[in-house]
């Protein structure tokens, strides 16, 4: 086995409960994004584009669809003889086994995996962020600063700063203070959840953290503050591209919709930094003679007979005659039958809207979640249903 300079550990175990019905059957990283992609495509493609070819994917929650999607990693050119993509679920050790209890614990439990490749550096990634980033530049920065830990950071609007891990840096970009979700943020430099560690530093930190019973075993909450307190060389690498955390329905919806706007920073059309995906093989999409499509993204295999405005149609979507779709995201293989109207909604994979339904109708009360309606994966909405804006339609609630 060839020694690797840098091994990536991709945290993909989150349940993503705030995405509601979209994660009923799958982990958050396997949720469809921007039509043909799935959220994990971005992190995996970043690895490929950064020449990192050993990626451990830490999984836990409903992993089947994610596993089959990743496969051998060949869709991202990661089926490499010296490395490759490895799915790392929780496992049984000599004495005992346990679930991954926090992000740091997940990596700690797999330290033998990392040791096997004996890397100089370990990069910790999150499987639920949408961004294009060349990690090799960050690694270069890490080496130049003789850093032990480097955090990728991004400037966020001040009013939103309290949602993130906020850090303060000195003139040399060395981090002096790190606070997770501060009430009174004293800067707007947020951690992106992308860390490069020297493997020796990380190993020590993980062992110390595992012995601390009060720790929540989380990188942001525990490991980084602990290491700062120990006086380790922790630096901030400033990233100035497009980056979105798509952990909630609102942020997921807006990040998708941003891809329709002109000044979109996440240029999916850029041939030099391609986002790969493991797509189904589908024919070109067909636009019928009664169709009208404006300001939208449409994927392969779609059949469109209705009107589609400001919307995203993922692969294999069917839009019947007389249908109107406004400001909505239709995930793969959704079927919308004749005469239905869909406004401001996210329709889960394989869901089916029968004839003459209205999804996202104006209701009597002020709607929740900015009026975004969410239909769960595989749900069938019976003929003539009217679903009010802001509702989450899922298995437990019948309509």
């Amino acid at each position: 086995m060839r020694k690797q300079e840098c091994v990536a550990m991709l945290l993909a175990g989150g349940q993503g409960s705030r995405l509601g019905g979209l994660t009923w059957k799958r982990a958050k990283p396997a949720v469809s994004f921007c039509g043909k992609y799935r959220i994990i495509d971005f992190s995996l493609s970043n690895c490929t584009n950064s020449n990192i070819n050993t990626v451990g994917v830490l999984i836990q929650y409903k992993p089947f669809l994610l596993n089959s999607y990743i496969g051998l990693g060949s869709a991202w050119n990661l089926d490499n003889p010296n490395g490759g993509v490895h799915i790392l679920p929780p496992f049984l050790g000599d004495s005992e086994g346990s679930w991954y209890n926090g992000t740091a614990n997940a990596v700690y439990q797999n330290y033998e995996y990392i040791d096997f490749y004996d890397p100089e550096y370990v990069i910790i990634l999150s499987g639920d962020h949408v961004y294009k980033m060349d990690y090799s530049l960050m690694l270069k920065f890490h080496k130049e600063k003789s850093s032990e830990i480097t955090l990728a950071t991004i400037e966020v609007p001040r009013e939103e700063a309290s949602r993130f891990g906020i850090l303060t840096v000195d003139g040399d970009a060395r981090i002096t203070k790190f606070t997770e979700k501060p009430a009174q943020p004293d800067s707007n430099l947020a951690s992106m959840g992308v860390y490069i560690f020297n493997w020796s530093t990380l190993k020590q930190a993980l062992i110390a953290d595992a012995g601390d019973y009060q720790s929540e075993n989380d990188f942001g909450k525990n490991i980084i503050p602990q290491q700062l307190n120990l006086g380790k060389r922790v630096y901030a690498y400033q990233f100035d591209g497009y980056w979105r955390d798509v952990g909630t329905i609102e942020s997921y919806y807006h990040a998708n919709m941003e891809s329709l706007s002109d000044g979109h920073f996440l240029n999916i059309f850029d041939p030099k930094f391609r986002i790969f995906s493991n797509e189904d093989i589908l024919p070109p999409h067909f636009v019928g003679s009664t169709a009208e499509i404006k300001n939208s993204l449409v994927c392969n295999g779609c059949i469109v007979h209705g009107k589609v405005y400001n919307s995203i149609l993922a692969p294999g979507v069917y839009v019947g005659e007389g249908v109107q779709i406004n400001d909505s995201i239709l995930l793969p293989y959704v079927k919308v039958h004749d005469g239905s109207v869909i406004i401001n909604a996210i329709i889960g994979e394989n869901a089916e809207i029968m004839n003459h339904c209205v999804v996202g109708a104006e209701g009597r009360f002020a709607p929740d979640q900015e009026g975004i309606t969410v239909i769960e994966d595989y749900h069938i909405i019976p003929e003539g249903s009217i679903i009010e804006a802001g509702m989450n339609v899922n298995r437990t609630r019948t309509i």
């Binding site: 921007c34 039509g35 043909k36 093989i281 589908l282 999409h285 636009v287 169709a291 993204l297 449409v298």
Partner: protein
């Protein structure tokens, strides 16, 4: 897994298609928005479970090899078997019709010798079809046939010059293979052979051994000569759509894809047509886009008007342009207010502002690869 290997003759067909097949073989001509014509033969074999496929290369084989790569997109990058490139003979003679030429097989006899399977499925590479060969293979085994020819009850009244017709008894045993000479138009409804056959491997080796010294003979003419001693059967198919031998065939068969029924038969069923994956982003429609009755591949950016057309991958249509009854291949860029009707644009054509290109239904205008207009 069927007891068969495949050979696709990507070197048959000699039409130039008004330049579309000038720099590339017909098998590598783009078709239907994202495919190459060869994809149909290749996918049919792969979907039938055949995992060892040899492709006989034609005169201009660079585009073909570029497209095929290691065969990964057809699941043919395998430890045992997989995709084999079989160099065809007579590279210098483009323009000859080498339908199943014995010389090509002799040249690649190792491919046939080193496998252990019983049968070889042979297909040409210039037909548009999606056909599962399993039924025909079962039929072939049941009848203990030496050769099974796939035929179609003819519903095609076009050019019959190259068609071969079969005469069969009630047991489907073929008694004669003949061309159209002497046949009346009214007789053209009879079964015609569609350039796909199944043959016992040992028999094929024997034929190649015996006939290799005769120069460029076609397999079919040898079978015809030995009709008496061989057990040749015919097996029907409903799936073949057509051969592409003229620019009109090409244009019409592309346009047929705008028909829902044709698409269902060809590529919306369980057996998919596989092709080289490019990982394009979704197609982007702007506020100015106006698209109707058209087939549009991924990675396009559409701001103009498109009617009854087929748009390949990565095409840019700027605002005010108008595309009617046309085929626009990948990476074309149509600038503002350009118009085209009955045009076929080969790959990477740029049409500058305000130009008007017009062909007609019977004579579509073909624009060569990478032209700038």
């Amino acid at each position: 897994m069927p007891n068969a290997i495949g050979i696709i003759f990507a070197n048959n067909g000699y039409a130039c298609l008004q330049g579309l097949a000038q720099e590339r073989p017909i098998a590598a001509v783009p078709f239907g928005g994202r495919y190459r014509i060869l994809d149909f033969a290749l996918s049919s074999m792969v979907n039938s479970g055949i995992r060892t496929i040899g492709v006989v290369t034609p005169h201009h084989y660079r585009p073909l090899l570029d497209h095929l790569g290691a065969g990964k997109d057809w699941f043919l990058d395998r430890k045992a078997g997989g995709l084999f490139i079989l160099p065809g003979v007579m590279h210098s003679l483009a323009g000859n019709n080498h339908t199943f030429c014995i010389k090509d097989l002799e040249h690649n006899i190792e491919y046939l010798k080193k496998d252990f399977v019983e049968n070889v499925v042979i297909s040409c590479g210039d037909q548009i079809f999606n056909m599962n060969i399993i039924d025909a293979l079962d039929f072939h085994n049941d009848k203990q046939a030496d050769v099974t020819l796939i035929y179609k009850e003819n519903d095609y009244f076009g050019d019959l010059t190259d068609e071969m017709f079969l005469e069969m008894d009630e047991d489907q045993k073929v008694s004669s293979i003949r061309d159209q000479k002497g046949l009346e138009w009214t007789e053209s409804g009879r079964p015609h052979y569609v350039n796909i056959l199944i043959i016992k491997r040992e028999l094929l080796l024997d034929i190649v051994g015996r006939y290799s010294s005769f120069g460029c003979m076609s397999l079919i003419s040898i079978l015809t000569k030995n009709m008496e001693v061989l057990k040749i059967y015919g097996s029907p198919t409903r799936s073949v759509i057509g051969t592409i031998s003229t620019i009109n065939d090409y244009f019409d068969q592309n346009m047929d894809l705008l028909d829902q029924e044709v698409r269902e038969r060809l590529w919306l069923g369980a057996d998919r047509i596989h092709t080289k994956i490019v990982d394009n982003p979704p197609t982007q429609y702007t506020l100015k886009a106006k698209v109707s009755n058209s087939l549009i591949a991924s990675g396009c950016s559409i701001a103009g008007e498109v009617l009854n057309s087929i748009i390949f991958r990565g095409v840019i249509l700027e605002k005010g342009c108008r595309i009617t009854n046309s085929i626009i291949m990948s990476k074309c860029h149509i600038h503002e207010n350009a118009q085209m009707e009955y045009a076929i644009l080969d790959k990477a054509v740029t049409v500058h502002e305000g130009n008007v290109l017009k062909g007609s239904l019977s004579n579509p205008l073909v624009v060569h690869k990478s032209s700038v207009i």
